[in-house]
């Protein structure tokens, strides 16, 4: 209940701040970069998304994780694929920056999410291959050649 009230308050506050009275000298509003493209629409109407986007993804999370339901509508990966694009200079803001689609509002409204500690914050095609991966493969090859005699403990 308190949660609900809090949420509604945050939301009202949010909406109020998104459409400020002219001339207000408050904290600058977050800039929300919406994906551009002719006729491109979010998976639900904008008002609904603003209010309830967390419900959709959290619900989807459990269904995908536990039941293998892989519909794309509320898929987290799909939010990122559509919403995160490079700017004119080809740069993609990280999820920690206020320029990242998911963080502009959150930073403004003091919401912290941990999703991006695991989930990629950009579409697959923009993910750079980590250099460190090479090391584990080398390690493994080394371990294999060194350990070849002492694996028998398993049997």
């Amino acid at each position: 209940m308190t949660n609900r009230i809090l949420r509604i308050t945050t939301l009202l506050l949010g909406l109020f701040l998104l459409y400020p009275a002219p001339g207000s000298a408050e904290t600058p509003l977050p800039t929300i970069h919406e994906p551009e493209g002719k006729g491109l629409k979010c998976v639900e109407p904008e008002e609904v998304m603003r209010r309830d986007h967390m419900e959709f993804i959290l619900h989807q999370r459990d269904e995908t994780m536990h039941e293998g339901i892989r519909t794309s509508k509320y898929s987290f990966a799909e939010c990122i694929n559509c919403h995160v694009e490079p700017d004119e200079k080809g740069h993609i803001a990280s999820s920690k920056s206020k320029d990242h689609f998911c963080n502009g509002c959150h930073e403004y409204a003091a919401v912290t999410i941990d999703c991006f500690e695991c989930h990629a914050d950009r579409p697959q095609k923009h993910i750079k291959r980590g250099k460190k991966t090479a090391t584990i493969q080398q390690d493994l090859h080394q371990m294999l050649s060194a350990n070849n005699d002492n694996g028998g403990e398993l049997k």
């Binding site: 990966a77 990122i80 697959q124 991966t133 294999l144 694996g151």
Partner: protein, 245 residues
């Protein structure tokens, strides 16, 4: 029932026709036809995914499966082999009497009665209906009981902040992880990355498929030639079976 199978068959054929030429091995195709599942339908226990590994065909020095796994999940090392995440290990077994050596890939065995699931205090370790043992990292508190409980030492703990994860395999600090049988691929009717790499490398030491379907390649092979469990004495009814051990 038979209607269902037929309609998914048609759907599969439709899909593949759109893609054009199919370059995957015929065996792979076959399993896809039989098991294609629409995205919006929950997995059921009608299917039990499993793997059969023929150690006679597994090359001692070969790491194709491991490389493919590391690549699929972007498992990155920190130069600390003891704690760096690994979903598959190559293990060499040596008969002290005869000196005979065999090499096998060891990963989560997707036990039917999984000790990791038993000990998990939060329900993060769980079994999906189709037999895959998973960690729901959203619930995992990183206590690592499951790592202690696993007789195969199949699980790893992420000790460091990670970057550059793929969109399809989220991983992060403070949670336990292990082989998911490439659940994200299975749900898209693809086979696990390791099995694909093994057959691409022309080793064909790994077969993946539905243990509950008597007509699947894996079931037929198991019926004909059998397949042992590692530590069968624990009676965990593993979904990963081995030949040649």
């Amino acid at each position: 029932m038979s209607d269902k199978i037929n309609s998914s068959r048609r759907e599969f054929l439709g899909k593949s026709a759109a893609v054009g030429a199919i370059t995957i091995a015929p065996g792979i195709l076959l399993h896809q036809v039989a098991n294609a599942k629409p995205d919006d339908v929950a997995v059921t226990d009608k299917v039990r995914w499993g793997m059969l590994i023929n150690t006679d065909k597994c090359d001692k020095g070969c790491t194709d499966c491991i490389d493919a796994c590391n690549n699929e999940h972007r498992l990155s090392g920190f130069g600390r082999p003891e704690t760096d995440a690994q979903y598959i290990r190559k293990v060499t077994l040596r008969d002290k009497q005869t000196g005979h050596e065999l090499s096998l890939p060891l990963m989560c065995q997707h036990c039917e009665t999984a000790p990791c699931v038993d000990v998990c205090p939060t329900g993060a370790s769980f079994k999906r209906a189709d037999g895959i043992a998973l960690v729901d990292k959203h619930i995992c508190i990183g206590c690592r009981y499951c790592m202690m409980a696993c007789p195969y030492k199949a699980r790893s703990f992420v000790h460091e902040n990670l970057t550059n994860q793929t969109l399809s395999a989220p991983r992060g600090k403070g949670t336990v992880e292990s082989c998911t049988l490439c659940v994200h691929r299975i749900d898209k009717d693809q086979i696990p990355a390791c099995v694909e790499a093994c057959s691409k490398g022309k080793h064909d030491a790994m077969i993946f498929g539905d243990l509950n379907d008597p007509n699947s390649k894996i079931s037929k092979e198991l019926e004909k030639h059998g397949g042992k469990q590692i530590r069968a004495d624990l009676q965990l009814n593993t979904a990963v079976r081995y030949q040649g051990i």
